[in-house]
């Protein structure tokens, strides 16, 4: 999602203030809370109030019943943050895995910021990378507190004690479980010394396959999502949105909707017209009876055909330079061959299994307003501020209870906090009615709302030229991209440097292959279609373009796809490393079966390196059948191999689905033509290839995992398809490209 911009880390704050006072919860479950980042000012205030309960929640809570709860500052939506971050704590704490629990941390940017972002949020495949040290330190500090208590209890030096699997051992058979020490620990000052973290050879949990904390609940229907939040007196809301993006409400006839069973109100907000009812079905039914007239004067009414035409036309005009070296003009004039490419990438929906939803309630306690929001907030800091603004209160008055989410793939990380604002406005509008001030409102999206609701992976057109010399030597490379900025005019516009939105060109402006003359240019497009980051963002299209082009050029030069790439990666050892590992897998895989072909691709994204080989045949429908994907991954130190492998499998599946089928198109008047899974085709189990993943051993710091499996699969399949059929696919999805071939 986002490239890293290191800001002052909260760790630095903690070491400056030192933790020299006691922190404990008074009168509640006898547990100790380990604060890593309590700023001095806040602590003074807390103590001055005679209140021993700190305002600063923390990362580790140990209870008298011996459970260790890790507060997770990154939302869990399937990528394994609960398990991963808890593992880091459990390792340094020397806890037993069975006593570990995880829950979402509250919204509090001072304590729970993503250290790469400077605000609290999940994305950019950064959860482990930015938390690796912090969570380990939290676990180590918690262990110090317990050791100190045991030492005090047994009157022995701390250095004489050992810890293993949640038990502290002293001399002469003395032992104590964590829970037994909590009450005493809470009365002692926090040890000042910085604990020494383990070295990797000492790891007993990190690097293994600890079972996932959320698997039991998710395997028995017990896991709760925003959809499953029910509050007393709650109403359910659905929004009637305009048929074209940017159209506004002109007139509403709510008579039939209000007469529909269970409907309680109809209100207009920025996003459209809200229908509130006493149940989800009644809200959906009520909305069907709603009559809305729309004002299209500021709407995006172009069709996809017209948009692609406009994007194409823009490429003929000068663009902004994203990167340049040498002289492409010289390369062009001395080239023996010039190969040109044009790629067309469609809008893509995220379509997580749980459509967007949020429950918001306004509380009025003696004129003091407070808002609670239950939803899968992926960027709590900006969502909190956006909700606060709607209600005219401060962010501190907004309590976000982050829920498990049924998938995101980027959809829940909204740079404009769109969902949070819709839900807040919907709640506020209902609450303004007499006697309804504290009604909780659950906003839900139907699948149609989801597929047609915008926030798509941006469409784009790429034009590329490869200039070849003798024996196909790659002399020069030109790459022009026409695409809409994801972050312009948003809280994340800082990602635009020198007029270039980093998310538009990542993977293209810094493509790793050594070519002496290179120009990469961005052509900013503006449309009324809302766009958003979609699993691996810019790499979803630049990866396909770069890896297809390099493969074609190497083939023309009669180079082996792996050896040829390696020859151009002399300055990039980790890229080369995953390709060499893939080569070994290719050797092991033996000869290609008749009727099939293999294709290679390698993409570095989010700090990690991935190479893939796809084995493809032509199905009876004339379309690719993908039998197997071999995948090598260098993501630095691996916290949980099983979780990483699952993320790679998932990323491959997500990427393959999009390449084969994914497409949102706008028809006449800018109306989205797809609406549900009958016409927004998604991949099913029968299309899922076998997958073999090899995690390259690495002692480097952990780098991104969640998104990295996605970029290489498209080009790997395309390269295999081209080698099988001779057909170069440059318009996606394959369903569209091969339409003409299907009899």
């Amino acid at each position: 999602m986002l490239q890293s911009q290191s800001l002052v880390s909260t760790q630095e704050e903690a070491s400056e203030t030192g933790l020299s006072r006691r922190h404990f919860l008074k009168g509640s479950v006898a547990g100790i809370v380990i604060s890593m980042t309590l700023p001095m000012a806040g602590m003074k205030q807390a103590l001055a109030a005679g209140n021993t309960q700190t305002d600063a929640n923390a990362f580790v809570r140990i209870a008298a019943d011996n459970t260790v709860t890790v507060l997770i500052k990154h939302i869990e939506f399937g990528q394994g943050t609960f398990t991963g971050l808890a593992t880091l704590v459990a390792e340094e704490l020397d806890a037993d895995w069975s006593q570990i629990r995880a829950e979402h941390a509250p919204a509090n940017v001072k304590l729970y910021a993503n250290l790469f972002f400077g605000l609290q949020g999940t994305g950019g495949s950064s959860s482990i990378a930015n938390s690796y040290q912090t969570m380990r330190q939290a676990g180590a500090k918690a262990k110090q507190i317990l050791l100190q208590a045991a030492a005090a209890k047994w009157n022995v030096p701390m250095s004489s004690l050992k810890v293993k699997n949640g038990v502290i051992f002293g001399a002469n058979g003395k032992r104590a479980q964590f829970g037994e020490l909590v009450e005493l620990a809470a009365t002692l000052p926090v040890p000042k010394a910085e604990p020494v973290l383990k070295s990797p050879e000492q790891f007993t949990l990190i690097g293994t396959d600890v079972p996932k904390l959320d698997s039991p609940a998710k395997s028995s229907g017990q896991a709760n999502y925003t959809q499953d939040v029910f509050k007393d007196n709650m109403v359910v809301a659905v929004i009637a949105r305009p048929p074209a993006f940017g159209a506004k409400v002109k007139a509403v006839n709510a008579d039939a909707a209000l007469a529909s069973p269970g409907v309680e109100a109809v209100k207009t907000i920025d996003a459209g017209v809200v229908v509130y009812a006493n149940s989800t079905f009644n809200a959906i039914k009520g909305r069907r009876a709603l009559q809305v007239e729309w004002d299209y004067s500021n709407a995006e009414t172009r069709s996809s055909t017209e948009l692609f035409r406009d994007f194409n036309a823009k490429l003929a005009t000068p663009g902004k330079t994203a990167s340049t070296r040498g002289s492409v003009a010289k390369a062009a004039s001395s080239a023996l061959n010039t190969v040109e490419f044009e790629f067309n990438f469609p809008y893509l929906a995220h379509a997580p299994m749980e459509p967007l939803d949020a429950v918001i309630q306004l509380h009025r306690e003696s004129q003091n307003k407070k808002v609670t929001a239950w939803f899968g907030s992926q960027i709590p800091t900006t969502d909190q501020a956006a909700i606060a603004k709607v209600f005219g209160i401060t962010p501190e008055q907004v309590d976000i209870q982050t829920q498990l989410a049924g998938g995101s793939f980027g959809l829940r990380a909204q740079q404009d906090s769109g969902l949070a604002i819709e839900a807040a406005q919907a709640t506020k509008a209902f609450a303004n009615q007499p006697g309804k001030a504290e009604t909780p409102v659950k906003l839900v999206y139907t699948r149609e709302d989801d597929i047609q609701g915008g926030r798509y992976r941006p469409m784009s057109v790429h034009k590329m030229k490869g200039y070849l010399g003798e024996n196909g030597a790659l002399l020069g490379w030109e790459h022009d991209i026409a695409i809409q900025s994801i972050v312009a005019n948003s809280a994340f516009s800082g990602l635009i440097q020198n007029g270039i939105d980093a998310t538009s060109v990542e993977g293209a402006h810094n493509q790793p292959y050594s070519v002496p003359n290179l120009d990469v240019r961005l052509h900013d497009m503006i449309t009324g279609v809302p766009v958003l980051w979609w699993r691996s963002v810019g790499h979803t299209h630049t990866g396909y373009a770069v890896e297809t082009v390099i493969d074609v050029l190497l083939q023309r030069a009669e180079q082996d796809p792996i050896a040829g790439r390696l020859a151009l990666l002399k300055a990039h050892p980790r890229e080369a490393g995953v390709l060499k590992a893939l080569d070994r897998l290719q050797q092991q895989a033996g000869p290609v079966p008749a009727g099939r072909a293999r294709g290679i691709a390698m993409v570095k994204s989010f700090g990690s390196y991935v190479a893939q080989m796809a084995e493809v045949s032509k199905g009876s429908d004339g379309k690719p059948q993908v039998h197997k994907i071999w995948c090598t991954v260098d993501c630095g130190l691996v916290v949980n191999r099983n979780v990483v492998t699952a993320q790679i499998e998932g990323g491959i599946g997500y990427g393959l689905d999009a390449i084969l089928h994914g497409e949102v198109t706008l028809g006449e008047g800018g109306k989205v033509e797809q609406s549900n899974f009958h016409n927004y085709t998604i991949m099913r189990i029968n299309e899922m290839p076998d997958i073999q993943v090899e995690l390259v051993k690495s002692a480097e710091a952990p780098s991104g995992v969640g998104e990295i499996g996605t970029p290489p699969v498209g080009p790997a399949v395309a390269n295999a398809w081209r080698r099988l059929t001779g057909e170069l696919v440059t318009t996606l999805p394959f369903d569209k490209a091969l339409e003409k071939d299907v009899s």
Partner: protein
């Protein structure tokens, strides 16, 4: 109107219009939230329940038509040994052992369908699995592990 249903072996009475999909009765009226909403048109399988022991998509079954039928949801599917309870327990255990779920939202439906596959094919082939499970979408693409878990459950049931 008053609708009488048998859900998880219990008689339940709800007051909804008879065109209300069973899914919403289960979720909004009975507060059994293990069964999920994904599409509303039987294209994703997240809403799969058992009707007289057979997997059905509850989002397209009107409450009025669900009267006089035995409805079982994920919460209680193990209890009825006759109607797939034995398969259910083993499947849930296999799902946990292989850490099948990622976001987990589709998995109740996947499990309910998988029970149907194993009841019909105690030693399922990959084709049996494809045919029985292709109505259950998973955007996290946990398909590789779903397949493995069904095979693992079949082995355990055979033992």
């Amino acid at each position: 109107m008053t609708i009488k249903l048998t859900v998880n072996g219990q008689p339940r009475v709800v007051n909804v219009s008879d065109d209300t999909p069973l899914l919403w009765v289960i979720r909004d009226e009975l507060k059994l939230t293990g069964t999920k909403f994904g599409c509303g048109m039987a294209m994703c399988g997240a809403c799969t329940v058992h009707v007289n022991g057979q997997p059905q998509r509850s989002c397209v079954l009107p409450a009025g038509a669900a009267q006089n039928l035995n409805i079982t949801t994920i919460e209680a599917v193990e209890a009825d040994q006759e109607q797939g309870g034995r398969e259910a327990a083993v499947i849930k255990a296999a799902w946990q052992e292989l850490d099948v779920p990622q976001c987990g939202y589709c998995q109740s439906g996947q499990i309910m369908s998988a029970i149907g596959v194993l009841k019909a094919h105690p030693k399922p082939t990959d084709d049996d699995i494809d045919n029985g499970m292709s109505g259950n979408a998973c955007r996290c693409a946990t398909y590789v592990r779903i397949r493995k878990a069904i095979h693992l459950a079949a082995e355990k049931l055979e033992a």
